[in-house]
Symmetry: C2
Subunit: 349 residues, 2 copies
């Protein structure tokens, strides 16, 4: 993302202007867009270097790199937008690896005709999320595709962090006896998107839970609990994430439906649309697998953090050569909580 | 990019199958696509970790991070495809910062209906480029968008590298008297794409120059030449890149048209289409600004490397408060080589 400080004549018309193909061509129009849109809002000393990449201080420890393409539709939704989601989502992917997130990069694919006003709103939202999380966007790239070859805006963010200690949270470390903890109520992001798409209205609107979880994770680490695995249950929801962990670790899991935290509007919207909140995406929640002796202390530590107030033990890990995730239902029966197989929620993140 | 090793029943039908919305939903179909397509071809120990990101050995030195969204159309072209381009382009962005490229991430945005055969061809090409460059793809993400919301495949790659010494190649270090060197003939990537789009045929077909330049750059560094700036002249071509450097460094530049290396088929195609090769994208060439005393030695070092055989001094840096890039033409006149202002070559990379 090169920014050459020069005079472009007229400034971008942020009220009525829109993206056209020249903004992706590598010339003056692109340089102006980068300077007046991206550098203006996201500006930091690294981004202002104006080279093909950023040169950054390193930190001791192993590197963690994670990337996510964001294609959420609609781009604005209650509680957030594609910009804050792209920042928080990638910070979370780095943080659940046990790393301190240091830097973000952002690659934008803009559709010809995107209003500058919408783009500015997204970039401002990214800037606010980046500042709140104290993780700067240090480099980026912008491409423009023709009308009908995109959908307003896609943002791929990559996060770089470091793991300073020997701690590692991997999906293959869950053991029989471990407890399964969720940091709060589930299904809010996905149902906020779905309710908006379907035009559903509730007395209490459903708001996306998009949030950066590295502060909560730092508090969890500081508790000293023997955490095996951390994961943010995004696409596919809690059910899919737990199936992945069960598979990686070669274990089974048993959930208790009665203790699953679901807000009433989310439960109502799920029932109306025939969805199961276990399969609905979250963007500000995490799952932790923890040694049984440390589970209560970890929940207490989580509840002391604003993003973990609703933390709860929702199940446990056991031996199972089939690696099934099952649930004891409120009616006392048991059911398999399988992987998501269909396509209930396209373009949720 | 989570890969849980499980049995999906039938394998992907690589001959007749295609991407559908379930491949982006976070469930079983996505896990299968990742395992049988991405992990199969790109597989390495990091990617096989199967977590939300990769934990990687760090190296001493400052970090360099660079990202590029790739939207080239058509996705296959003479000399390469969007996969090799996405690997080489980002390696080059890291390498021109003076860094040793270590790792790549890849975010895929797939359009519903993309043939698995095409996707496999792109991923195999990425794997070959990654292996040739010895820079592994360590983590990734896949999203699927509906028909008409994408164009087959977009790939955003992010590169991470380290600068082990104090050397820094920044766009703001060019000084009056410095020489401008290009590593070989210009305009091949852009004209390979344009010739294919326009259905032009030449006796000698124009082939993209896509290549990873970190080996050439290592040879240049080993020469000990006082290199100020390295840049790969992609979108906007040599003209735009030199204008950026002139602006960042606050200098003027003078090129010699008579020594600009342009292959005859590229010159012919440019003339036919009314394009100037100075504005046409390169994907395997670099520009170096170097202290005058070291210019000849640097050219010699470059010519000893397979990717620098056509290296040439094409101009010099001088004081100019207007920061103009100018050129002495073959007719002996002078003209301004301005920034690219129009839109000659959309979606070239």
């Amino acid at each position: 993302m090169t920014s050459a400080h020069r005079n472009y004549g007229r400034s971008l018309d942020l009220r009525r202007g829109c993206v056209d193909m020249t903004h992706g061509s590598g010339g003056r129009a692109m340089a102006q867009l980068i300077e007046e849109m991206f550098v203006r809002h996201l500006g930091n000393s690294y981004l202002r270097q104006g080279n093909d990449g950023a040169v950054l201080p390193n930190s001791a420890g192993r590197l963690v790199v994670s990337t996510d393409a964001h294609v959420v539709s609609p781009m604005f939704f209650p509680g957030g937008d594609i910009g804050s989601l792209a920042v928080n989502g990638t910070i979370n992917d780095v943080a659940v690896m046990g790393a301190t997130p240091l830097y973000l990069s952002a690659g934008f694919i803009l559709e010809e005709g995107l209003a500058f006003a919408d783009l500015a709103r997204v970039v401002e939202s990214m800037a606010a999320a980046s500042e709140a999380a104290a993780v700067p966007v240090v480099t980026g790239d912008t491409k423009v595709v023709q009308r009908g070859k995109g959908d307003g805006i896609y943002i791929t963010t990559t996060g770089v962090g470091v793991v300073a200690d020997e701690q590692e949270y991997s999906g293959d470390r869950a053991q029989a006896g471990d407890r399964i903890i969720v940091s709060g109520s589930i299904g809010e992001h996905g149902m906020a998107i779905m309710a908006q798409r379907e035009g559903l209205r509730f007395a209490a609107p459903i708001v996306s839970d998009t949030a950066a979880l590295h502060g909560l994770i730092a508090a969890m680490r500081a508790s000293g609990a023997a955490i095996r695995t951390l994961r943010d249950p995004t696409r596919g929801g809690v059910a899919t994430t737990l199936n992945e962990i069960a598979q990686q670790s070669g274990v089974g899991m048993m959930l208790q439906e009665s203790v699953l935290p679901v807000q009433p509007p989310v439960a109502a919207a799920c029932e109306f649309l025939g969805l199961d909140p276990l399969y609905v995406a979250n963007e500000g929640k995490l799952l932790a697998i923890v040694a049984p002796a440390d589970a209560d202390a970890l929940v207490s530590a989580m509840r002391a953090h604003p993003l973990g107030r609703g933390a709860a033990i929702i199940g446990s890990v056991h031996r199972d050569s089939h690696h099934f995730v099952q649930m004891t239902t409120v009616l006392g029966g048991r059911r398999i909580v399988d992987w998501l197989t269909g396509e209930p929620l396209p373009r949720i993140c």
